[in-house]
């Protein structure tokens, strides 16, 4: 399991390759890459700032991956989440899951993202032409998570 919370950007291709090359039995890697959008609710975004809870963040992500591994026969998973100031089109997060078969990898990758979005202690503050605001949590993210219960 790899969990990293960092300001620096990450190399998505290298992370996916490292994951699959460690596991000759891995037939499938499913990866999610989140990107800072240039528009949110119709407003131009100039910068996104990510605050987090050091210590708890890493534990929370590790717990989410462990839950996924208990639920599906996975080989391994990598979660990298950036913090600090990010411009539009920066990468925010990578979740990559390796498994023998694709169905398990798809389900687990989406599960990890749905739990990350609702349980991992990150908060986004968005700077737009109208000023700087903390983003509100979305009901749709709670609904996505509840599907797994």
């Amino acid at each position: 399991m790899t969990v990293r919370v960092q300001e620096a950007d990450f190399d998505t291709g290298a992370e996916i390759a490292q994951l699959r090359l460690q596991y000759p039995m891995a037939g499938a890697v499913v990866a999610f890459v989140g990107q800072v959008r240039d528009l949110n609710d119709g407003k131009a975004v100039s910068r996104l700032t990510l605050e987090h809870y050091p210590g708890m963040t890493e534990k929370s992500l590790a717990t989410i991956i462990e839950q996924a591994m208990q639920r599906w026969p996975l080989l391994d998973a990598t979660v990298i989440h950036r913090v600090g100031e990010l411009p539009p089109q920066a990468q925010i997060v990578l979740v990559a899951v390796a498994s023998a078969h694709r169905g398990d990898a798809f389900a687990a990758c989406e599960f990890i993202m749905d739990y990350l979005k609702t349980e991992a202690p990150f908060w986004k503050r968005e700077a737009t032409s109208e000023g700087t605001v903390w983003l509100d949590a979305r009901d749709s993210d709670q609904l996505s998570r509840k599907r797994w219960q």
Binding site: Y53, T118, W123
Partner: protein, 83 residues
Amino acid sequence: MIQLLYFARLRESLGTRSEQLEWPVPASIAELKRQLAARGGNWHEQFADNPSLCVAVNQQLATETATVQPGDEIAFFPPVTGG
């Protein structure tokens, strides 16, 4: 003593990031919230009637009924919005 941490919008509203609080005997998160709300002003607003407020005890998500022991690290924060 317990360690209190505040994050994001809550941190800005309260104007503080962390504090130490006397906490001689175990009591619930609900009791801790009552004490913090009793400070009045923004504290009352954030802790007395704020159903979306989240709490973690020793870096694990918790509920109102969780027990706060002396020495614990308690964090309050708004719903998370990462990813």
